[in-house]
Every structure is written in structure tokens, then in C-alpha cells.
């Protein structure tokens, strides 16, 4: 990532075939019958988005009353890339061995985590990737860390049960996976989880993590979690994060310290 000392401006536009030509591709369906009129509507649609040089490339009869369009057009959008904030990395991410050694020394007890795919969601592959021995993409799961004590409750676990079991073991962190996102069911369930955590009095005490393919850090924070992890998350990212959280709760590290691999 380029850094921009003194926040010099760094204007960017879409790149089609030449710098700053602004060319982008769109496709969409309109609930009308394929025709010249439909094509005109597609053009207008794009113009209403502020696009210019609109080329309605394809007009496909997706069904009797639906037309699918492919469009190329120019977006007159300019961004100042220098203005986009990403936290500066302060602490380097620790490897498997480093992290275990670090926990041994600094925390001096095993870090306890509980995880599950809660609500009606049965997609366990993601949470398994984080917790199970095998891990993900060659990166070991938390069960493999000798200085972690990881419990994976599987799928369709009621929020209350996950929290109850975590409390029993005085867990440091609770990991919730949400994969089905249609009509924002993951948000509803996540909110229910946080309400339950407040009810059980653990909110703000344990580290609560949310993960899944449509989760990002921002969303998780909004929903009341301590962090959110999206697609491609490695178990070691989560392990590092949890350890930082424990240190911070122990007062050994300043809150909000940015570190490598932290969710963004």
C-alpha cells in the first residue's frame, strides 16, 4: 500500500482501456419485454446514475417480460485515494510458535475460545476452518495451538446456549459464524446474539467475534461485536487478535493498538 506523506492528493478514476477514461461495465435486468424501447430505458437508467457515453451492448430476452442488459459506460467519478483511511500497522503478526510462546509468557494460561454457527445457519465449513485442527489454506486452526483451548459447538446452536457454555468455562472469546445472509438474516441473528450477551452480562467482558463471507469489521462493530472477520480469514489472524484483546483486558496493552492482520 502506498503511503501519502502529508496527504498529497491522489486522484483516481476507473481505468478501462486508458488512464482516467472512466469506463465501467454494468449488467442488470429490467422487468420489461426486450425491444428498442427497453434498450432506450436501459440507457436512461444508466444516465440517471450519472453515467455518460452509455453503450447498451447487449439486450437479452431473459424471459418474456424481463430483459437483461450489458452496458459499458463512463463514470465521471473521481476519488482522492489519499483520503481513504486504513490504520497504520504497529505490531507485527506473530507466527504459530511465536504466539504460543508469547501466550505462555505474557498470559501464562491457556486462552479459552468458544465458537459456533448460531441460529438456523448450518454452514460449518467457515467456523471449522478457524477452529479445527486442520485450519484453512495451510494455516493451523485454533485447536492446534497448545496455548489455546478451543471449543467448536458446530451448527444451528442457539445463541443462548453458546453464551451459557462459554460463560461456564470463563471463555476469553466467543466466535459466531453467519453465512446465510439473505434478507439480512445474519444481522438479525447477530443482534439477537448481542442482546443475549447483554442479558447474560458478558457483553464487554468477553471478546465477541463475528465472521462470515459477508461480514466485515465495520459491520461487526456496528452490531456490537468487538471485531468482524470476512472471507479469506486465517485462523492465525483470529488467534493474534484474541491474544491482543486478552492483553488489553489485562491492561498489558493499550486499547485500540493497531497490529498486522487486525480486521479492517
Amino acid at each position: 500500500m502506498t503511503t501519502h506523506p502529508g496527504r498529497e492528493k491522489h486522484f483516481i478514476r476507473a481505468y478501462g482501456d486508458r488512464r482516467d477514461d472512466g469506463v465501467i461495465q454494468l449488467s442488470f435486468t429490467l422487468p420489461v419485454t426486450a425491444s428498442e424501447k427497453a434498450k432506450e430505458a436501459a440507457k436512461l437508467f444508466c444516465q440517471k446514475l450519472g453515467l455518460t457515453d452509455v453503450k447498451v451492448a447487449a439486450i437479452e430476452r431473459a424471459a418474456e417480460h424481463y430483459t437483461f442488459f450489458v452496458v459499458y459506460a463512463k463514470a465521471n467519478v473521481v476519488l482522492d485515494y489519499a483520503e481513504i483511511d486504513t490504520p497504520e500497522i504497529v505490531i507485527k503478526k506473530k507466527s504459530f510458535d511465536e504466539l504460543n510462546a508469547f501466550i505462555e509468557q505474557e498470559i501464562a494460561r491457556r486462552v479459552v475460545v468458544f465458537g459456533a454457527c448460531t441460529g438456523t445457519d448450518t454452514h460449518t465449513v467457515g467456523i471449522d476452518a478457524i477452529l479445527n485442527m486442520k485450519g484453512f489454506a495451510g494455516d493451523y486452526g485454533l485447536e492446534r495451538y497448545p496455548w489455546f483451548e478451543a471449543y467448536n459447538l458446530g451448527s444451528q446452536v442457539p445463541n443462548a446456549e453458546l453464551l451459557r457454555r462459554a460463560k461456564e468455562k470463563n471463555a476469553d472469546a466467543v466466535l459466531v459464524s453467519q453465512v446465510v445472509t439473505q434478507r439480512d438474516v445474519h444481522k438479525d441473528n447477530s443482534r439477537a446474539f448481542i442482546d443475549e450477551a447483554k442479558k447474560q452480562g458478558v457483553h464487554g467482558k468477553m471478546t465477541l467475534l463475528l465472521g462470515g463471507p459477508r461480514v466485515d469489521h465495520k459491520l461487526a462493530l456496528e452490531l456490537g461485536f468487538d471485531a468482524g472477520f470476512g472471507p479469506g480469514t486465517k485462523p492465525s489472524d483470529v488467534a493474534n487478535f484474541v491474544v491482543h484483546q486478552v492483553l488489553q483486558r489485562m491492561g498489558k496493552e493499550q486499547k485500540g493498538t493497531a497490529f498486522e492482520g487486525a480486521p479492517t
Binding site: 424471459a63 417480460h65 434478507r183 459477508r214 472471507p231
Partner: protein
């Protein structure tokens, strides 16, 4: 295909193993019934509708019979008793039964018992005939408007709202879909009842209800006439209500059903015994109603690695086939599931996928087979994912799959948009057109990578079957042999719905379907 990769004897041996593996399970099935089977019986007699609190009447009735400890005689028996008590209609029968103090009702005199059974049998026979008549209407329509050539392009709709589903199903049919699947709402399989009526709210899918089935089939009948091409409908029956849904589907003239002997156990943590018993009755219904079942072996390789677990698919297919044959299903009804799921970043994956699909074809030459597209390794880069799906289209036509689920370029993101289906259909049509007959152009080298891989996978599958044979299915499932998922015989949901049959257990539909009456 005969002779390819493995000998006919090896394949025959696999079938023998499967038969012996399922033997103990058929004992279990013979000795037990479930709440869901009994509810199905009542549905078949015409008990429909819901009680005051929204619970289906069949549930109210069967729960009551179970609570009273008399379900072991069979709901049909009690239905007959109610009739004899003067019930004027199935609904009336429910009311009478739920009102009467059941436990106090002792047996009738032997001749009355026999008469009761005869009466109920007669009614059952009539209802079976009605079902058959309904199915015949479907078959007439199919004859009038023949289906397109296989692979039948299978597309899902999943809006949650049956009326939106209808819109999308029609659109998909117009764009070339041969089979429409209405995906069920998330976790419906864990409901121990079948929701009632037309539904407009669901997550990740639409509730499977008899009324929803009716609405959709009606729309597709209409669309079939307009397109002059019969468009098939499928839904999901695996779950706690496997046989009830099978009945609803049969009655509403569905063409296919997702119906797997083990899916509920492995992927929904439904109790093993419950599932085995339910699947049998549900498959008997499918057999009678000419429904093609789709099994779920493809799911194994969404959890386990598709390369490593390839043999589990084959082994399970032999078992699923055996369960199916023993429930009266014919080969043409066996949409055994498999899929194109190997990590596309591995080398030679097209060879591996061809090998696997050819091996499945070799083992099950007369089954239509159900081929699933890549899902797990789909990327959010829709252009890559589209290319990836295109290769699955190729393997499908190459290995003459009967049923092909079309991959969606947005698989890694959301349930399909209307446009996603259109895009998939257009490409699949191209592939089918372009590559039809390619299998007849080449002879597979028996010393090549495809053949060696097929032999290796078959060998591993045989080992797994031998293990199941030696230690039993329960033990094999306990070790996570299928889909990397471990289950215990007495674990999971729904065991409390399993009831040991009394010696006088009565189920006239089963008798009829088993050819015993």
C-alpha cells in the same frame, strides 16, 4: 461403458455388499414406525388443515396418539376406529379421536377388528387410486409436451415468497429451464411438521407446503403448455417430515424430490433411526408416484475435500441405490447425486472430474444421475466462476447426466438473481449443443490418468463398503466416513418420534405399496 475401468463382477460385488449393509436397517424399518410416517397416513386419508394454534391437524392427532402410547397400532387403525365411532369425514375423525380418552379404548371384537381393517383398506385403496390418477394426469401432460433432451437443466428459485417464485420459475422456464427446484427455507428440515398453505416469508428459500407445491405445479403446467415443453418441478423431502413431504409432492404431481437415505443424519443431525424409517416410507411413495429421487452425495464434498473423499460418494451411491431399490424405486427414478467440486487450483481437474463422473456412469448405467455444479470453490469473481461452471456443463453432457443443476456465477455471494439463471442457461445450452455425443467420439485409454484414478477411487469405495459391511453403517457414520460428519445412533433430533410397532400395527398404504394387499 461396460467393461470400462472395473469389471462387472466388481460392481456386482459392491451391490452385494450394499444389500448386506442395509439388511439390519431393514429390520429396524420393519419393526418401527415414526410420527411422520403416521402423519403421512392421515394426510393420505385426506386429513388436511391446521388447528387453532396453526399446528397441522395431523400433528395434533398423532401427538395425541403418541402421548396416549397407542401410536404403535398405527394411525390408520385409529382412523378406522374414529370412523366406526361415526366420524363423517377425516376432519371429523380427527376431532373424535383427539376428544376420546384413547388409552381406555380396548381392542374390538376380532371380527370387528377385521372389518375395520377391511374398511380402512378399501378407503386406502381408493386414495391410492386417486393418487395414481393424479400422477397419470402428469404423465399425460408429459406425453403431450415432451421434455427437452437430457441433461435436464435444473434451476433453483429461492425468493422465500411462493408468488415471486412462480414469476421466477416461469422466467427460468422461458429461458430454457427443464426442472425448477424451489429451495426450502433454511432449517425447514428440522421442523417436525409441514407448514400449511401458501407462504410468502422464508429465509434462503420458500417453505415446502402442499399448497405451495400446488401453486407452482399449476403455474408450470400452464407454462409447459405455452412452451410446448414439459417443465418439471422438484422440492426437498429429506428432513423430519420426509414421508409427509413425499406424499404432498406426489399428490401435487411433482416430478422429482431431493430424497436421501442419509442426508438428514449427516447434514441436519437428525436421528439415524428416525431417518432410515422415514426415508423408506417416503421412497415407497416416490416409487408409486413415479417421482425421480435426487440423492445428496454431492453434499459430502462440500464439507470434506472433493479429491480425498471422492470414494465416499461412490460408496454412498451404492447404499442409496440399495435403499431405493428395496423401496421399489426403479433405475430410471434414481437421480444419484454427485458433483464437480474439486479445487480448481489443483492440476488436471478436468481429468479428475471426468474420471469421477465416468465412474459414476459406469457403476449406474441406467440411472439418470443428478450432477451438481461447483459450489464450494466458487469465487466472487463472477467471470471466473462462470468459466468454472462451463466445464461442469461439459462434463455433464459428456457423461450423459440425466439431471444437471446449473451453476451460478454468483454462487459465492447470493441466491441466484434472475439474470444469473439466464446466463447459466444460455451457456449450458451452448455446451449441450456443442458437445452432445462427444462420449461416442473417444475411447478412454485404460492406462491413462482418468482410468487409473477411477480404479483408485473405486478401490477406496470398496474398502469403505467393506468397512460398513464389517462394522455396520452406524459405526461407519460414527467415524465420520461420510462427509467428514460424525453421528451417533441415538443422537440427533427426532428419535422421540420413533415408535416400535405393535404386533397388530396397521398401515394399509404400506401394505398396498409393498404389494402385500
Amino acid at each position: 461403458m461396460s467393461g470400462l475401468f472395473v469389471t462387472d463382477d466388481q460392481i456386482a460385488h459392491a451391490r452385494t455388499l450394499a444389500r448386506e449393509i442395509t439388511d439390519p436397517i431393514f429390520d429396524l424399518i420393519a419393526k418401527n414406525t415414526t410420527v411422520s410416517v403416521e402423519r403421512t397416513v392421515l394426510r393420505w386419508f385426506g386429513v388436511d388443515g391446521v388447528g387453532n394454534l396453526g399446528a397441522p391437524l395431523v400433528n395434533l392427532m398423532v401427538d395425541r396418539l403418541q402421548a396416549a402410547g397407542v401410536l404403535n397400532k398405527g394411525a390408520a387403525y385409529w382412523y378406522g376406529r374414529a370412523l366406526r365411532m361415526g366420524a363423517s369425514s377425516p376432519l371429523d375423525a380427527v376431532e373424535r379421536l383427539t376428544a376420546a380418552p384413547l388409552s381406555t379404548l380396548g381392542p374390538l371384537p376380532p371380527e370387528d377388528e377385521a372389518k375395520l381393517r377391511d374398511e380402512v383398506r378399501a378407503e386406502a385403496r381408493a386414495m391410492v387410486q386417486e393418487l395414481k390418477d393424479r400422477v397419470a394426469r402428469r404423465d399425460d401432460l408429459k406425453r403431450e409436451f415432451p421434455m427437452a433432451q437430457a441433461p435436464h437443466k435444473y434451476l433453483i428459485v429461492a425468493t422465500g415468497n411462493i408468488f415471486d417464485d412462480v414469476d421466477q420459475a416461469r422466467a427460468a422456464a422461458q429461458a430454457g429451464a427443464d426442472v425448477i427446484a424451489v429451495i426450502r427455507s433454511t432449517a425447514q428440515s428440522l421442523l417436525d411438521y409441514v407448514p400449511h398453505g401458501a407462504t410468502t416469508e422464508g429465509y434462503g428459500g420458500t417453505y415446502a407446503t402442499q399448497e405451495n407445491f400446488r401453486i407452482m405445479r399449476e403455474a408450470l403446467d400452464d407454462e409447459s403448455r405455452r412452451l410446448k415443453r414439459y417443465v418439471q418441478l422438484t422440492n426437498y423431502s429429506s428432513g423430519l417430515c420426509m414421508s409427509e413431504i413425499a406424499f404432498c409432492a406426489a399428490w401435487e404431481r411433482l416430478d422429482m424430490l431431493l430424497n436421501d437415505a442419509m442426508y438428514g443424519i449427516l447434514f441436519r443431525d437428525i436421528n439415524m433411526r428416525r431417518t432410515f424409517i422415514d426415508q423408506y416410507f417416503s421412497r415407497r411413495i416416490c416409487a408409486m408416484a413415479g417421482i425421480i429421487i435426487n440423492t445428496g452425495e454431492d453434499n459430502y464434498i462440500t464439507t470434506a475435500d472433493a479429491y480425498d473423499a471422492a470414494h465416499t460418494v461412490i460408496a454412498s451411491q451404492f447404499i442409496n441405490e440399495c435403499f431405493a431399490h428395496r423401496a421399489g424405486l426403479k433405475d430410471w427414478q434414481l437421480g444419484l447425486g454427485h458433483s464437480y467440486e474439486i479445487d480448481p487450483y489443483k492440476p488436471e481437474t478436468l481429468l479428475l472430474e471426468l474420471s469421477q463422473a465416468m465412474l459414476v456412469r459406469r457403476c449406474f448405467p441406467n440411472a439418470p444421475l443428478k450432477y451438481m455444479p461447483p459450489t464450494k470453490h466458487k469465487e466472487t469473481d463472477i467471470f471466473f466462476s462462470h468459466a468454472y461452471d462451463v466445464m461442469a456443463d461439459l462434463v455433464a453432457i459428456w457423461t450423459r447426466q440425466g439431471i444437471q443443476l446449473l451453476g451460478m456465477m454468483t454462487e459465492a455471494m447470493h441466491t441466484p438473481l434472475l439474470a444469473d439463471r439466464y446466463v447459466a442457461l444460455k451457456s449450458a445450452s451452448y455446451l449441450h449443443r456443442a458437445a452432445r455425443g462427444i462420449d461416442e467420439e473417444f475411447v478412454v485409454r485404460e492406462d491413462g490418468k482418468i482410468a487409473n484414478r477411477a480404479r483408485f477411487v473405486f478401490g477406496e469405495a470398496m474398502e469403505l463398503l467393506e468397512e460398513c459391511h464389517k462394522d455396520g453403517m452406524v459405526a461407519a457414520i460414527g467415524r465420520g466416513r461420510f462427509g467428514d460428519v460424525k453421528r451417533e445412533e441415538t443422537g440427533g433430533k427426532g428419535l422421540d418420534g420413533v415408535v416400535e410397532k405393535a404386533p397388530e400395527y396397521f398401515n394399509p398404504f404400506l401394505e398396498l405399496m409393498e404389494g402385500r394387499a
